[in-house]
């Protein structure tokens, strides 16, 4: 009887703990965590890792795709981020996290076509095994992780949206990602480290 009770309470604890973790949104990275590197296939057929970028100061990792209207609305702004910040040491690394069987419009072929049509100058990688985005904790497209390279690894400095107006780039009042990168470049504290935006759930 005693043993049964013990088992019961042990189980209860496990259930309570696991549900608590769930409620706490404990998935993925928080600000200050070390982000994993990866080796993912780019649209040019080569693989790309963060460690390839010897002189980078950090990375603007963008989980995005072809098929989500929100991601599409931000395509030009993602390209603009790369144009502005790659030479300052913070290149954009775009990762497409969707299951392409569910979303054929996000296939490697479709990714290549879109990158060509839009003239993307950043790598557009496919998270083919869908193992990278869950580690980061990305839940939607677009979803941005700003990383800063340090001796301890690539530290997560900002998580969230690109800016505060997905509908109209000219009506943006807060450029979250730009403000965050500018802060890192000038050695200041990032004011808004986490923001939220509507996006398309990542297709599994």
């Amino acid at each position: 009887m005693k043993n049964t009770l013990k088992t019961f309470f042990a189980l209860l604890t496990i259930v309570a703990l696991s549900s608590f973790t769930y409620l706490g949104g404990g998935h993925g990275y928080h600000i200050g965590d070390v982000a994993t590197d990866f080796e993912l296939e780019n649209i040019d057929g080569k693989t790309v890792s963060l460690s390839d970028y010897k002189s980078a100061k950090g990375f603007i990792v963008v989980f995005t795709c072809n098929t989500c209207p929100y991601a599409v609305a931000y395509e030009d702004r993602i390209e603009a981020l790369n144009k502005k910040y790659a030479e300052l040491g913070y290149p954009v690394i775009a990762v497409m996290p969707n299951n392409t069987e569910v979303k054929p419009g996000d296939s490697m072929k479709a990714m290549k076509a879109r990158a060509k049509a839009k003239g993307f100058t950043f790598p557009y990688l496919m998270d083919e095994d869908q193992k990278i985005y869950p580690q980061y904790g990305a839940t939607k497209t677009p979803h941005i992780y700003l990383l800063q390279k340090t001796n301890k690894g690539n530290i997560v400095k900002y998580i969230g949206a690109i800016d505060d107006n997905y509908q109209d780039a000219s009506a943006v009042t807060k450029k979250y990602v730009e403000d965050a990168v500018d802060a890192l470049l000038s050695g200041k504290e990032i004011e808004e480290k986490q923001t939220r935006a509507i996006g398309c759930s990542i297709k599994v």
């Binding site: 979303k103 939607k140 949206a161 109209d168 009506a171 923001t195 939220r196 935006a197 759930s201 297709k203």
Partner: protein
């Protein structure tokens, strides 16, 4: 004399304004006979997110372009029909305003949606997402179920059984 002129001119302008406004309202009304879509910013939406009456409310955030949302929409419709006595489903569309006429309204009409459909147009999602629920990362579909005593938030897709099970927990 000079002033009379100016006043006259001003009157003329304001009269013209008034007639133009009336015309606009008229046009909107005739369009509205097809599908009437109420559009809110988040302040306006807030009244749909709390209640003092005895009903249980199921508020689903969706969009016509969101495949998993479209897939689960029939379950919300079924729930709204089968529990019409004490449950009300509200479908909050996050379609882009430019798609209201071309995508959203035709969808509501073609699918003959019976649940209440409203549109949320508020670009500053960073400020309103946590007000819906602190745990919401912003992915859709997302659903809030609440009555006057309790509420629960779900950032996930539902099948009918799951949805019914969750709603039953709110019914006494």
């Amino acid at each position: 004399m000079k002033y009379t002129w100016i006043i006259g001119l001003m009157l003329l302008i304001s009269c013209k304004d008034a007639t133009e406004k009336e015309k606009v309202a008229e046009v909107k009304q005739t369009e509205g006979t097809e599908v009437i879509l109420e559009i809110f910013d988040f302040d306006g939406l807030q009244k749909f997110l709390r209640t003092t009456d005895d009903k249980t409310y199921v508020v689903n955030f969706w969009a016509t372009w969101c495949a998993p949302c479209i897939k689960e929409l029939p379950y919300f419709e079924k729930l709204n029909k089968e529990y019409s006595d004490n449950v009300e489903v509200i479908l909050v569309s996050l379609d882009f305003p430019s798609k209201y006429e071309t995508k959203l309204k035709p969808y509501i009409k073609n699918k003959n949606l019976q649940s209440k459909v409203i549109a949320l147009n508020d670009v500053d999602s960073n400020s309103w997402i946590p007000k819906v629920d602190e745990s919401w990362t912003g992915a859709i579909p997302a659903t809030v179920i609440f009555n006057k005593d309790k509420r629960k938030f779900y950032e996930k897709s539902f099948n009918y059984d799951e949805l019914e099970t969750e709603v039953k927990r709110f019914l006494k």
